[in-house]
């Protein structure tokens, strides 16, 4: 089973078309394994991306370097998944 320990979901805001294109470039770098949960659309629309723990530093560096403003939407994906699993287990037991 694939685990997502330390993976984060970042909410990124693109200010202009150039930044939208840069997010496209980020997505094309397969080694970063960025998983877009909400794709780049137009400036002002939030973009959500799940970033594996191993490439988190690289992706954040990229965002900082290109002056993106972003926040951490999910701090640790696996924590939420564990909660979800536990809630299903509880419901089944009941």
């Amino acid at each position: 089973q694939q685990l997502f320990v330390g993976d984060q979901v970042l909410r990124v805001s693109a200010r202009n078309e150039e930044q939208i294109s840069l997010l496209g470039v980020l997505g094309e770098q397969e080694e970063l394994q960025v998983d877009f949960w909400r794709h780049p659309n137009s400036p002002g629309h939030p973009v959500d991306l799940r970033v594996p723990f191993l490439t988190l530093q690289g992706v954040k560096k990229f965002l900082d370097f290109h002056n993106f403003s972003y926040s951490i939407m999910i701090e640790d994906v696996q924590e939420l998944l564990d909660e979800e699993k536990e809630s299903m287990r509880r419901s089944r037991r009941i």
Partner: protein, 309 residues
Amino acid sequence: KRSSRTFDFASYHTIDEIYDWMDVLVEDHPSLVSKIQIGQSYENRPLYVLKFSTGGRNRPAIWLDTGIHAREWITHATGVWTANKIASEYGQDPSVTAILDSMDIFLEIVTNPDGFAFTHSSNRLWRKTRSKYSGNLCVGVDPNRNWDAGFGEAGASSSSCSETYHGPYANSEPEVKSIVDFVQSHGNIKAFVSIHSYSQLLLYPYGYTYTAVPDQQELHEVSAKAVAALSSLYGTQYKYGSIITTIYRASGGTIDWTYNQGIKYSFTFELRDTGRYGFLLPAKQIVPTAEETWLALKVIMEHARDNLY
């Protein structure tokens, strides 16, 4: 025998639990609900559709589907709740009763069963089908890029490793082809609603072109009314419009194909949330999400009923 009344709608469930529950729902409402199999998935799982019908032959119909993207668990859960709501409101709620007295409703809850099973066993964040094609590096096709509407154009990927991979050819995925065959052989589907998550949107065609659909004004007005109904319950804010102008260009999408088949009332939802949990919406939000979505669905279904074409 278990009863559909003891099912925990406020929890996420596996495919086996959902399929078992569908049988119980049919047993509890034998004169209204039946289960039909429209095909089987790549990994040979049955593709089940619940049919809600009060009789008649080939009545005008409404199609609803949830879960075409496997990781969007809130949609399957909403589908289960909605199925139960339709069954329990018939004969109680005048609007639902009037819809079912003149139309049939078809509801496919687990539209991508292989992907859904995979989200439970191996990778909670899997989105695509599980098909394998020789020469492809990666597994799976995005079933919402696999329809014969602008297939393979901009707004889908030709790389098998992409989450938006369109597949080798239109309808390559049995999960898609089964719906295509069903819709075409039925021939009298008047409304088609495909339910996704998340980002809180109600969308109508097109996704593959900026050309406005001939019915844009009507679809826009129906969307406005549906979104107002939805928001009235918990204040959840939705945006609405055509796919391409509201989210992004997407080719080979479900409702672009259904619209081109002549199904005027073609819509797609993106359910909650605005960006705290994404695809990991906590189970305690299932019922509120389903409740608010139901209000919008009712507007669309009522409009289809009152404006048959």
